[in-house]
Amino acid sequence: MPCVLVVDDDPFIRKLVATTLEDIAGFDLVEAGDGEQALAEAERRAPTLVLLDIDMPRLDGIEVCRRLRATEATRTTIVMLTAAAGDDEERRAEEAGADLFLTKPFSPLDLLRLVHDELGDGAGDGEAI
């Protein structure tokens, strides 16, 4: 089953994403609270999709993205969580190898649609939106 890795230093955001993708849509979800942990989990679980917050202390999302792209064997979809659309942040993320963007505050319906588009129907016990 496809696995989603959510990386955010804010446990509040991780909780919302878990509720949306795991409880509602039935995806297999792995959480990481910082960049180091994210890289370790990515290696261990080989997620199909990584939801990556850009603004994190120490190792930020851009750097994590760059390292993921440098090391991954299979192609993972990387979705960057950004603070504002269309600014310099997005350009840098794109250069680092991000595929898609989701602007905070993000819509859970958009998140579900995006993940469904990339991964299909999840566990199937969730409601298709």
């Binding site: 505050p105 993000f106 319906l109």
Partner: protein
């Protein structure tokens, strides 16, 4: 005037900056939650619309099936709709939750759906049926129940369809169930069906008056019908029954 020491000023500035950062974090969380709330509202709204749509298509489906059955029998006209209205009145008079169960109402409407499998020569025969013919005719209860198998929203309807010809004394068909082993929905339906049959013109006999119908049904309480269902029917006033008859002529 005492001057504020530099160290304290620095500390103030630091605290202010920290407070501002905290406030930003809180308002970010707030905006994120508002986003979730807005989507939740949207989802509920579209879910409600979808449920309504589904409801409409359920009713349309049942109506189409009912019409298909009735189209074959010019004499009975809107029999299914009248019987359904009578049966709902009886259910209400019994103060039963049945009247609120739309699945049961669908069962009242579809009670004869199995007649699609009965040949015209038997269905339309004006003379009494021979024993083998009657056997074919009586199969409509089981066939109807089978037709509705696997349709979740029609599950409560199946009991009416299968057992609407059972009799309180156990001499009915197809299973010879007696008394309260016959589901209430079917027990409520039986006198309603009789009422309509007696008060409607058929090729082989005249329509009888409401008074006569009441008498005949009352006489069969405890043999053909559940006495409680008969009592409930008898408690409904003439005006209500007349109105139903006129509305679905």
């Amino acid at each position: 005037m005492a001057t504020v020491p530099d160290s304290m000023r620095d500390e103030h500035a630091q605290l202010r900056a920290e407070l501002e950062q905290r406030e930003n974090q809180v308002s970010e969380k707030e905006r994120q939650l508002e986003r979730y709330a807005a989507d939740l509202r949207e989802t509920f709204k579209s879910e409600r619309a979808r449920t309504r749509e589904l409801q409409v298509s359920y009713v349309a489906t049942v109506r189409a099936l009912t019409n298909a059955v009735e189209a074959r029998d010019a004499y009975t006209g809107k029999h299914a709709e009248r019987v359904t209205a009578y049966a709902l009145e009886i259910a209400r008079a019994l103060d039963s939750s049945l009247a609120a169960d739309q699945g049961v109402e669908f069962g009242f409407l579809l009670h004869d759906v199995g007649k699609v499998a009965v040949p015209d020569s038997i269905l339309h025969k004006p003379e009494p049926l021979s024993a083998p013919e009657r056997e074919v005719m009586e199969r409509h209860a089981v066939i109807g129940c089978e037709i509705l198998e696997g349709i979740a929203f029609l599950e409560p309807a199946r009991a009416v369809v299968r057992w609407h010809h059972e009799r309180w004394d156990g001499s009915g068909y197809p299973d010879g169930l007696a008394g309260e082993r016959i589901p209430l929905s079917a027990r409520v339906f039986a006198p309603a069906d009789a009422l309509d049959a007696i008060t409607t013109l058929r090729p082989y006999r005249q329509a009888s008056s409401l008074v006569e119908a009441r008498e005949r049904i009352a006489a069969s309480a405890g043999t053909q019908f559940d006495p409680a269902a008969v009592e409930a029917l008898l408690s409904i006033d003439d005006a209500t029954l007349e109105r139903i008859r006129r509305e679905h002529e």
